[in-house]
């Protein structure tokens, strides 16, 4: 096993990896931008090195500088987390060529799977079913229109190097195609430095179901069941769960075998995820393979009883997986909510500021994977995800009840967050019955964001506001106008007079 590992990331995932290292007796080296000098991941690490100014292009994306830091601090391996450099084949290769270990798949497997177009071609050759679409990046809007015409609207534009919803657009009408292609290419260029975009048939009503795989360097490839991630907005997952409410043991085995076949075809090692669209008729189509640890890995950890990040490190160090496929049967139900600094009541616009108060939920079956604390500055340089709230319970209804309880306990003050929106989601009958598709959330967005509270709750808010205003008024009287209070003998009368004169 390694003695020291560099964690090339920030926020909650950096903290997650640092924790895994420390539990394995590995020293963790954090890297950070100037904006993150006081971030939790810096303090929790054993060593920490500043690598540049706030923009990620000048810090967290500087592979060469990070490799240099690893060599200087004596780290033997680099864990990339997710995002940033995690799926850059050149980085994985540079790490290897520097004589270090990349905690992830070989550069060749990232190349085979990292580009969605290449992944499709590989999947087709491995006999894995895929959704109809192009395997070459689009040249221009005319070519896009001709291809879209061939299988009909709606179509989906996707960045070849993409992930996380960036550079993705659904196009429902031919007239929208050109501007959507432009926007997708711009987003792709900004987010990934590559504007290659391709087009595919957009299925109506499928679920997003993905399969976790784990492979060692000795030819063992296992799957760890599925995660249901259908609740997405703009292709950003908001809630994930394991298992899926519609996947039977037989379907799990078939999807798992398909994921393992795809991973083997790519020469895959370490933890990875095959994403599928699961159609309403039970057919499933390979979408892409994420060649990294995923944001939503904890739900698999909870139902499978395994620490995926620790196994990433152990596999990277050359250990053999001591499990067989039969070891992995989901136990109970796990749900994750991605708590973001977005304001659902205001079009999900990012909210920035300082966390002035943070109260975390606790109690049975509750896990918080966060990168924030009291005083954290939430800026615009990085992703708006603040933390993940994850629960585990014996059944799906109990897990939903537990998540609702935990969300109600959670208090984040200082920035707007998605907390209340998650409550509305989990209160919805469709979500409670598991009747979801990848279009569900977009279709119900207005209903969810404009939901109104009960009369009782509105009354409580009114009482609280009146009492708070009354308190503040009392304090203002005492602190601001002692002289005039004495003069009139009544603070209330004085205040009222000042206000009516517009002095309040």
């Amino acid at each position: 096993m390694f003695d020291k590992v560099l964690v090339a990331n920030r926020g909650e995932i950096a903290l997650r990896v640092i924790r895994a290292c420390q539990e394995l007796g590995i020293k963790a080296v954090a890297v950070y931008s100037e904006a993150d000098a006081r971030a939790p991941h810096v303090r929790e690490a054993d060593e920490a090195v500043c690598i540049g100014p706030p923009p990620s292009s000048q810090s967290y994306l500087l592979g060469d500088r990070i490799i240099e830091v690893a060599k200087r601090t004596g780290a033997q391996a680099i864990h990339p987390g997710y995002g940033f450099l995690s799926e850059r084949a050149w980085f994985a290769r540079a790490v290897r060529e520097a004589g270090l270990v990349f905690v992830g798949p070989p550069a060749e497997a990232i190349e085979a799977m990292g580009s969605k177009t290449a992944a499709r071609q590989l999947a087709i050759s491995a006999g894995v079913p895929v959704v109809p679409g192009t395997t070459e990046p689009l040249r221009d809007a005319e070519e896009a229109a001709a291809i879209a015409e061939s299988f009909g609207y709606p179509v989906l534009l996707k960045a070849a190097a993409g992930g996380g919803g960036k550079g993705m657009r659904i196009v429902r009408e031919p007239s929208e195609l050109a501007s959507a292609l432009g926007a997708a290419q711009r987003e792709a260029l900004n987010a990934f430095g590559d504007d290659a975009v391709y087009v595919e048939k957009y299925l109506d009503g499928p679920r997003h179901v993905e399969v976790q795989v784990l492979a060692d360097q000795h030819g063992n490839v296992l799957h760890l069941g599925e995660r249901e991630c259908s609740l997405q907005r703009r292709h950003q997952k908001m809630v994930e769960e394991a298992p899926s409410p519609v996947v039977t043991p037989a379907l799990r085995a078939r999807m798992g075998e398909t994921a393992v076949a795809a991973a083997r075809a790519a020469g895959y090692v370490n933890a990875g995820t095959c994403e599928f669209l699961l159609d309403t008729d039970g057919a499933f189509y390979f979408l892409e393979m994420n060649t990294r640890i995923q944001v939503e890995h904890p739900v698999t950890e909870l139902v499978m009883g395994i620490d995926l990040v620790q196994w990433q490190l152990r596999v990277a160090a050359g250990e053999r997986l001591p499990f067989d496929q039969k070891s992995f049967t989901p136990r109970g139900w796990a749900i994750e909510c991605r708590i973001t600094s977005e304001d659902p009541s205001n079009g999900f616009l990012p909210s920035t500021g300082r966390i002035t108060h943070l109260h975390l939920p606790s109690g049975p079956g509750v896990r918080w994977d966060g990168g924030i604390e009291d005083g954290s500055e939430i800026g615009l340089h990085y992703d708006p995800m603040l933390a993940k709230l994850i629960v585990h319970a014996p059944t799906r209804p109990l897990a939903i009840a537990r998540m609702r309880r935990a969300l109600r306990e959670l208090v984040i003050e200082g920035v707007e967050t998605s907390r209340d929106f998650h409550l509305r989601l989990l209160e919805h009958p469709d979500v409670q019955s598991g009747d979801m598709s990848i279009q569900w959330l977009e279709a119900h967005l207005t209903e969810l964001t404009s939901a109104s509270a009960s009369d009782e709750t509105v009354q409580l808010a009114a009482i609280a506001a009146a009492l708070a205003a009354h308190d503040d008024r009392g304090q203002a009287t005492v602190s601001n106008s002692p002289a005039s209070s004495r003069a009139t003998g009544s603070a209330w009368r004085d205040i009222a007079r000042r206000e009516s004169l517009g002095l309040g």
């Binding site: 919803g165 960036k166 926007a183 711009r186 987003e187 900004n190 987010a191 703009r234 009541s345 205001n346 079009g347 616009l349 990012p350 909210s351 920035t352 002035t356 108060h357 109260h359 615009l380 990085y382 992703d383 708006p384 969300l407 109600r408 208090v411 003050e413 907390r419 209340d420 409550l423 109104s452 509270a453 709750t457 509105v458 009354q459 409580l460 808010a461 009114a462 009482i463 609280a464 506001a465 009146a466 009492l467 708070a468 205003a469 009354h470 308190d471 503040d472 209330w492 009222a496 206000e499 009516s500 517009g502 309040g504």
Partner: protein
């Protein structure tokens, strides 16, 4: 003391007399205690208890209230101040729709508004990139564009006026 409280588009009357509170005429006992060192307060209504976060939100009397998993923009004013504010708001409404302001710092990607153009409510006017996502900022009401201050490729600060609008 009588407060007129606007809560998410509804208007309630809350009369306070010690721990006695009359909400739209119905009498309850209620109190609000602060939890020292935190923005959290304990609201008691009868024997029920609720965790409340009430934070000043701009003008006096305006509070952002979080209770039982809901957030409310509230405005709690005594009756006289309420009447004055309502008059002021009415005269402001007559002067036309509010300008489009940047709700967050970011980079202007595209400007879709042209001076003189008539736009519909909800029409995208400016696209601002923040947190690596493009966000469309839309007109709050049907209006005519009187000035465009946003310039593609430039950074904007929160609260900066991007587009000025006039009533149709």
């Amino acid at each position: 003391m009588k407060y007129i409280v606007d809560v998410s588009g509804r208007r309630l009357t809350v009369e306070l007399d010690g721990t006695e509170v009359r909400v739209d005429g119905a009498l309850v006992s209620a109190s609000l205690e602060t939890v020292p060192g935190t923005p959290v307060r304990l609201l008691r209504v009868g024997d029920t208890v609720h965790r409340v976060v009430a934070r000043r939100d701009g003008a006096r009397g305006a509070y952002r209230v979080g209770v039982d998993g809901w957030q409310f923009s509230t405005d709690a004013l005594d009756a006289r101040t309420r009447a004055i504010r309502d008059l002021a708001a009415a005269s402001q409404a007559a002067s036309g729709p509010a300008p489009l302001v940047a709700p967050m710092p970011g980079l202007v990607v595209r400007v879709l508004a042209e001076v003189g153009a008539e736009v519909a409510a909800g029409q995208a006017l400016v696209v601002v990139e923040a947190m690596k996502m493009e966000n469309e900022l839309r007109a709050s009401a049907a209006a005519r564009i009187t000035a465009v201050h946003a310039v593609a490729g430039t950074a904007v600060e929160k609260g900066m006026v991007l587009v000025e609008l006039a009533a149709l």
